[in-house]
């Protein structure tokens, strides 16, 4: 019985020693994490919280973001319209010039004739 009690006491000593250490480790871990987070917070405050965005494909707006049109292409397509208009207006301008030249020639011709 005595040996059993001694063995039990030894076991308790081992257990309580281990428990004390793990309490200290637990406290230290939370202490360090608090210090680390405060440091990160200071850093965050310094650079205004700017950060690289994570992928937002899993967010509530994923569908909206996925369906984003190609705005550059929309404008580039307009470019085609504008260059076509440029052609039309150039032709118009040449036609008008030709007409002006024609009407000038005819005026001179008629004047000479008359």
């Amino acid at each position: 019985a005595f040996d059993a009690s001694v063995a039990q006491v030894k076991e308790y000593i081992a257990r309580f020693t281990a428990e004390c250490q793990s309490w200290d480790q637990l406290l230290l871990r939370y202490q360090q994490s608090a210090e680390e987070t405060s440091r990160q917070l200071e850093e965050c405050r310094r650079d205004g919280g700017r950060a690289e965005p994570p992928t937002y494909l899993q967010t509530s707006q994923a569908e909206v973001l996925r369906s984003k049109p190609n705005y550059q292409k929309i404008l580039d397509d307009q470019g085609e319209v504008l260059s076509c208009m440029e052609l039309v207006l150039d032709e118009l301008q040449q036609a008008v010039k030709l007409l002006e030249a024609f009407s000038e020639d005819s005026r001179q011709y008629l004047r000479r004739l008359s």
């Binding site: 899993q58 967010t59 929309i74």
Partner: protein, 200 residues
């Protein structure tokens, strides 16, 4: 079996056994002191009687015997007192939870549940960051839309301007006025040809 009475130690700040040990030692010290005082009084008394045959050695012997008797008696009494005190006074009933442990009454999380909570927290924080950046992405897209809208409005204004110029100069429909112009110039050519033949 050994009972460390850790819960009692958590409440009292000392282990009941240590407390009992301290009381026992205090009693024991007191007993020894009293015994010494009694012995010195007896020695004085004996010294006061003429022709007394009792030697100090004998006095010491009987003091020791008396001390032994008292100590045995005291030990018996003390172990009863210890038993009672440890069971009824310096003892926390099994159904009692100390105030600092009340929290376990409502939230008793297993390791897995606690880990699940931690995972949920970090998942929610991740979700929050993703939503925040989705919001920023939508704001950025709004900026792009503003630029594109401005460009498209410029083009629309340009066409409106062109249309206004045509309207101001009486050619509201370019196509028709082109046809009209072509017909006229054909007529003019015919007239000129005609004039030329006549003049020849």
């Amino acid at each position: 079996s050994v009972n460390p009475m850790a819960y009692e130690a958590q409440f009292f700040g000392f282990t009941p056994q240590t407390c009992m040990l301290r009381i026992y030692i205090a009693f024991q010290d007191y007993l020894f002191e009293t015994m010494l005082v009694v012995e010195s009084v007896i020695l004085k008394k004996v010294a006061g009687f003429p022709n007394c045959k009792i030697s100090p050695f004998q006095v010491r012997k009987s003091t020791e015997k008396f001390l032994l008797f008292m100590k045995e008696h005291f030990d018996k009494l003390f172990s009863k007192m210890e038993e009672v005190l440890l069971q009824l006074v310096l003892n926390i009933p099994a159904n009692v939870l100390l105030p600092e442990d009340k929290v376990h009454e409502q939230f008793s999380y297993s390791k897995e549940q606690f880990q699940a909570l931690q995972d949920e927290i970090s998942q929610l924080q991740q979700q929050y960051r993703a939503e925040a950046s989705a919001g920023q992405a939508l704001r950025a897209e709004l900026e792009e839309q503003k630029v594109v809208r401005a460009e498209l409005e410029k083009i629309v204004q340009w066409f409106d301007g062109l249309e206004n110029i045509c309207r101001e100069h009486g050619t509201s429909n370019l196509k028709e006025s082109f046809v009209f112009l072509t017909e006229n110039s054909k007529k003019l050519q015919d007239v000129l040809k005609d004039v030329e033949e006549k003049s020849k």
